[in-house]
Structure formats: C-alpha cells, structure tokens
Amino acid sequence: MKITFPHMGNIYIPLKTLFENLGFEVIPPPPCTKRTLELGVANSPEFACLPLKINVGNFIEAFEKGADTIVMAGGIGPCRFGYYGQVQREILKDLGFNFNMIILEPPQGHFFELLKKINFIINKKNNSIKDIIKAATLAWKKAVLLDKLDVEICKLRAIEITKGQSDGLYNYNLQRIIEINDEKEMSAYEVEMLKSFSSIPVNNDKKPIKIGIVGEIYTILEPFVNLDIEKQLGELGTEVYRNIYITDWVRENLLPSFLKPKDYKKMLDLSRPFINCFIGGHGQESIAQIVNFSKMGFDGVIHLLPFTCMPEIVAKSAIPKVSQKYSIPVMTIVLDEHSAETGFRTRLEAFIDMIYHNKEGKDFARVCTWN
C-alpha cells in the first residue's frame, strides 16, 4: 500500500510525516506544474472548479510514480469539495488506473464509518495508541513550524535589503523541516529557525504597506494556483498576511465544535449584516476577515477564488458594500487554468500603486493630480 494525497501548499509535509510514522510508504505527488494542470484539465469536467482539476493531475502523476492508494477528505456540502472524491474516483477509473481510494468523511451521523476507516488505515500496521499519538504530535508540530516560517518570511521579504535572500532562507528551512523526524530535534530546531531570521539584513526605516489575503482556502494555500501571490506581493515591497494557515484550518474544521477557538465565532459575526449565515466553504469567513483586516489597520485586501466557486461568488456580491463601509480597498482575483502571470502582476502592481496613492492623499490632505 503506497499512500498518496492531493497537494495543497505545504500540507504534504505534515501529512507525509504522519503516514510515514504510522509505518506506511508515502508517495506524495510531484510538485504542481503545468503538466499537472494539463493532465487535470484534460480529464476533468469542464465546469468543475480548479482544485478538482489539479487534484486529478496530482493523482495521475502520483500513480506514475507508483502510488496505489489515495487518501482524500470528504465533506457534507453545500460546497462542491464534499463530492470531489466520488467524481475523482470515477474519472480515474475511466482512465484505467487500478487503485484504492479512502475518503475521510467528517463525522456527521456516520461517526462509526469514520472510525472504521481510520481504523482500517491504522490497523494495517499494528500501531499502538501511543505510536499514533506520537505520529500525530510530530505532524502537528511540523505544521505549526511551517506556519511560523510562512508568517516570518512574508514580513522579511518586504524589507530585506538584498532581494531574494529571504527566499533562500525559506527554502533552506523548508528542507530542514522536511528532514527532521524527531520531536526533540524539532524543538531545538525551532529556536535555531527563529534565530536565523535575524541573520538577514533589513531596512528598518521602511514602513511597508500591509495586505491581507482572504478567499477560498485552496487558492490561498497552493502557490502554483495563486501564481505565488505572496512572493510577488513581497517583491513589490508589501507585507502579506493570509486569513488562513494550515493549523487554523485544522483547528476550525477538523475539531469538534466545543474545541474550536472561541474567537472564531466572534470573528464570523463580523460578516453581519452583509452575509447573515453560513454559505458553505469559506464565503462568510472571507467577508468577516475583510472587516477584521480593516480593523487591524491593513491597507488593502485581496480576495482569491477559483472560477465558478459558489460560496465565494456570494461573498463577492457583498464586497463592494463592505469595502465602502470599512473604507478598505479590496480586489477580487478569479483564478482558473487560463490565469497568466503577466496580467496578474500588472493587476497587483496597479492595486498597490492605488493604495500608495490613497495613503499620500490622506497624508497631505490634498494632492493635485497635475503637478
């Protein structure tokens, strides 16, 4: 049994650790490339959303490397993601692959089924509960570390003196996190990693503008899909925060409701009166986070969604009013297989120029456009 799973940003690192420590062979798909996309687009329904297509590409490439078991998450709707696994299975079957697909559905009346499936995975290797907890803790720690790395690098990128230095540091640290496979070593490494950030010479006088990124989770987390938006914005000299990191997603979506962070509910309430109820996916959250970012003094927000994403379309309809009420500029970017980097970059540059212009206007009270 060689396990594989779809890519979503860096989530493959903790997942790989988890399964490997449970004693399985793991073959993560190769990083998303143009070929992944092309394979996915050629074999998926035309109007399916982009994540489904890329997943299909991931699976095909993983099969080529020898994987034979897919672990995939499920859902209960109304977002399409909950039915991804079923459709992907049919597509891959039609392509003639021979494989096993384990879809982990969230407990909803079928709690036993979930337990049975987890049991099925775990029991194959006779793990004791202690082993399982150990594997899970290590994976979780890796996820936490990865998030810290992401946040810090995004800050550094905006103010580094030699361009590209922080990216080098990022890749080095990423590699280290992948390699480490022991809890103690991990804790020691955390200190080392935090220290390494200060080794990069920065321009402390620079006050970069702050941009928040909200929207659909896959497009936020997967750099191939969002054309590396964090890096691009960093190169343009802005500090970037996402509204969602890997650990947040686990906390908010996989934990039972009584364990969820308390601020989460409060934060969702910010979406009123524009969006008054759960609309599936991260639609309501996107709106709430725009308000949140504005309250935290951010200069602008970029809203990402894959083409035809249903919850985010509803959110998009509310954005003009939110943006007006909280006076924060918001730009929506729809991503699909036809997104091109040049046009994308131009839009980002224009957006940032507009924010700078806005700021100047505020500072000098009145700016003549013709002098």
Binding site: P45, F47, Y83, I91, G109, G280, S317, A318
Partner: protein, 333 residues
C-alpha cells in the same frame, strides 16, 4: 398590502403554497412578469458577474417588482430535505439581493431550513408571522390550508405528468404532454435539469414547447415519485447533499437502468456548481454502461437560439434514426 413574488427559481416549485399562504393571510400577491429580454438585461446589470444565469434572472425579476409592491418575499432557502442543501447561492440569496439592488422595498426573508428535520418548517412559518405581524394561529391555519393545495399541485405533476405552468393555471386541455403518453410509439426523452431552467420558457428557449411540437414524450424529475428517485440514488456510493442534484441523478439512474428512455437531454446553466459534477457522473455512466445518446445543453446569457435549435434537431434525428432504422443501415453505405 401587496406582496411580490419573483417569477424565478423556486417559483416553479412552491408558488401554489406561497400564493395561497399569503392570500389566506389577507395579502395580495403580485408576480413579476414572465422572463423577457428586459428582465434578463436588468439582472445581468445588477448581479455580480460570476453568478449563474438563473441567479441573474432572479435579480432581474426582483428589480421588475420594485414599485409594484410593498414587500418582496425572498426566503433564505437553506435546505428543503433533511441532511441536504440546495446550493450556496440559495443560502446567500437575500444577502446577494440586498447587496446588489438599491431602493428595495421591504424584504421578507425568513429562513427555510429543514436540515435537521421536516418539522422545522414551523420555524419558517413563525418567522413569516413575525415579519408580517400576524398572529401565530392565523399563520398556522393558513399554512395547513396552503400545504394541502401544494400537495395537490405536486401530485398533479406526478400523476398526470404535467409541467408546472399547466398545473398552475389548470390548463388541462393544453397539457398536451398528457396525450402523448398514451402513444407509446413516440420517442421518450429524459429531460434533466433544474426546474427553474427547463420550465422557464425564456431561459430554456422554449425547449419544452419544441419537444411537444415534435411529439416527443418527455419525463422530468418533477414527474417521478420520490420512491423512484431514492431507488435510483441507491447506486451512489455517497449520499448526495444537493437536493436538486439528487433528484437529477436519481431519475437518470433509475431510467437508465430500466432502459426506458431513448435519449437524455441535460440542461444546465453555465457555472452551475452542483451540475458540473452531477452532469459528469451521469454522462460517464451513460457512456460506460449504456448505449443511449446524451445531449448536454449549457445555457447562459449569450446562448443563441439558432445554434440551440440545430443541436436539438440533430439530437432528435439521431434518436429517430436509432429507433426505426438501426438494424437496417449498413455501415458501408
């Protein structure tokens, strides 16, 4: 006081209930005009551009009602069957309308959420009574009465195989679909798609009219019993959480299995989330296991009627050919 109901989306499913409910509470019900070019144009202007055609058309219908009524009824339809949803855009519909259309009259947007059980419909009724400031008792009396009428309407669709418009206006004679059923020699087509697309004469470019004119028998998922749909969905490995998607796929699987239809027409709107997956599942299955022609019609505001007609005619020709000449034609010409 006048209450406006947009002639779009679930108008085709629940209008008898809504009309009778508000009328027995003493209100007058105003419908928007049937979908026309003007309404579609207005809807496209007002609505966020990524939305699907039926949502845009709904915006147009709401805009059409402005100035004609004192209030507009736009329920937030979260779920109409336990453990199922409609679609995220239905969940956020009142929000979308409020955010996109200026100068709205009073909007009645009670929540209809049967996710945790059918009896939650009472919450919906209670909420309406609060919106309208009528006594709970009066509302429940009206509810009971309207429920009966709605059930009558539903059973009419199934038993007499009528389309909603005919059942709504009691056009017993015009419902020519009726008479075709007797003639079992006619081609039988399974017409799949959301009710608000296929029954809207403008959106579907008169698809039903055209089929009737060609003497084609057609079945839609509104014309079959719940039992049939459940029977069909048994084949799914995972229960589907979209009510309309489940209806579509259940009907399709049932009739495919029993080889009772000559062809399948699937009508979907451009950018419809659930249908992009449901359609794929049906199409894959039809191709893999059954030898039945499948026509996928994708509708949006740019669809042109000529191309639409050509495709439909070609498809019907194929069906005809298969029925009568399949065994006689030599492949060598």
């Amino acid at each position: 006081m006048y209450i406006g109901i947009p002639r779009a989306l679930f108008y085709y499913k629940y209008y008898p209930f809504w009309k009778n409910f508000f009328e027995s509470l003493g209100y007058k019900v105003v419908l928007s005009s049937p979908t026309n070019k003007e309404i579609v144009k207005k809807g496209i202007e007002l609505c966020v551009d990524d939305a699907c055609l039926p949502i845009k058309v709904f915006h147009g219908h709401v805009a059409d009602l402005i100035g004609k009524t004192d209030a507009i009824y736009i329920p937030r339809i979260i779920s109409i069957e336990p453990k199922e949803y409609i679609c995220p855009k239905f969940l956020g519909l009142p929000d979308m309308i409020r955010n996109s259309i200026p100068n709205l009259p009073y909007v009645i947007d009670p929540e209809l959420n049967l996710y945790r059980g059918k009896n939650k419909i009472l919450n919906h009724i209670l909420q309406i009574s609060e919106f309208l400031n009528v006594s709970k008792r009066k509302a429940f009396v009206a509810y009971n009465k309207s429920l009966r009428i709605q059930r009558q309407f539903d059973s009419q669709l199934v038993e007499k195989q009528m389309i909603p418009q005919d059942a709504l206006y009691n056009n017993q004679e015009i419902s020519s679909n009726n008479s075709h059923i007797k003639n079992s020699n006619n081609l039988k087509v399974l017409l799949l798609g959301h009710n608000y697309n296929i029954y809207d004469d403008f959106i579907s470019m008169g698809l039903i009219r055209k089929l009737q004119k060609q003497n084609i028998n057609f079945i839609t998922s509104e014309m079959v019993t719940k039992k049939i749909i459940l029977e069909g969905t048994k084949k799914l490995e995972k229960d589907m959480f979209w009510t309309l998607g489940k209806q579509t796929i259940g009907t399709a699987y049932y009739f495919l299995d029993r080889k009772k239809v000559d062809g399948i027409i699937h009508v979907a709107s451009f950018g419809c989330g659930p249908d992009s997956l449901v359609g794929e599942l049906i199409e894959k299955r039809t191709k893999r296991d059954y030898n039945i022609p499948f026509l996928y019609l994708n509708l949006d505001e740019h669809a042109a009627e000529t191309g639409f007609n050509t495709r439909l005619e070609a498809f019907l020709d194929v069906l005809e050919g298969r029925k009568y000449f399949e065994d006689n034609i030599s492949t060598y010409g």
